[in-house]
Amino acid sequence: MSSRDTHPDWVDEFGQVGPLPANDGQRQPLDAATPTGPEVGTRLPDFTLPSSTGRTVAFHEDRGHSMAAVVFFRSAVW
């Protein structure tokens, strides 16, 4: 087991450490001007995408009359 000191350039303003310096584009923090997509109260735009479960999911048809959570995440790879 070994560790070495973390260079401050790699720690962002929230205290998180990333594999790239904190000023790299993909680590820029969100600010008030950051777009957050469809507004509360509006219909979520429909989409059709292939799924890890082997299905093709047409969102509104697939959820039927159920509530749903749609999570946009960075990546399952890195």
Binding site: S3, L30, L44, F47
Partner: protein
Amino acid sequence: MSQLVELQEATSRLAEAGIKLYAISYDELGALEDFAAHHGITYDLLSDAGSHVIREFGILNHHVTAEQVPFHGIPFPGTYLVDAEGNVAAKSFNAGLTQRIGADGLIDAALGEILLRPEEPSAGLTGDAGIEFSMAYHGGGGVIRSGALRTLVIRVDLPDGLHIYDQPVPDGMVATTFTLVAPEGMRHLPVEAPPTEPLELPGVGELRVWSGRVDFSMPVWATDEITSLVRDDAPEQVTIEVEVAYQACDDQACRLPRRERLALEVLVRRHVGPALDTMPGAEATGMDTNKWLGAMVARGLDAADDRDAAVAYLARTAASIADGPGGTRPDSSDASA
């Protein structure tokens, strides 16, 4: 990635709450299948390779330029809660790119109230004049994970006739405030309080008060300082305390100001991260990260307008990561499959 694993752990509770779960990224379908297989993910991980849906939603991360291969195409991370009619009921986009709403945040939003669970750490005490205080660490099965938003739920039960104050109060009186006392690396957002009632005091004016049962919420999250990504000797549990300052009054008189301290011991879970050998303390995903990174690089280079600039960025990034912050990972036998 930790977020995806936590959501899997909560799939039955999400289903009970009537919430279907979908997660979208710009990853190749094969990468999502690989990740799902390694982590037992049963809900839909949807592949938006090419970022068409991400663009249509207007949440493409525009800080990442086209030549920043393979990172170009990621979204600003966020979650939408959709009601039964298909409309957006709530959404969560947090300032820190690594702050994430968890399953419990979604369930709370869907129900419109916070339901505490038995496994969540809690503590209580009796304060001044029989006022009962309790605190629970809510969300994620009651454990700390880097970046995952949790809620400290602080409940104050006031005996009949007593009230406590919201800010502002005149000089000489004490409003109710909450101070987080925790190791460096625990952060919090502003406390959310229920509505107050007006109280007219002769010669003072209108003050705002709470009475009866009052639930305050302090959203908290842990940074990598706590969860071991920056050091190997990270604690397995930490003590989180909240100091409550308050002054109880009835219609006739005020009692002396008091402070109470609620303390919890909370377990720290490891972060689930890519197997890039750059970060200590992370639990590797077990999937073939390099294979899928290679596919992303090839895809990104094909799509880049300025291929030379993209290649130069890749070279700089690779050197930067090799030089990078975490140093040597703990022995790989440390990472569970």
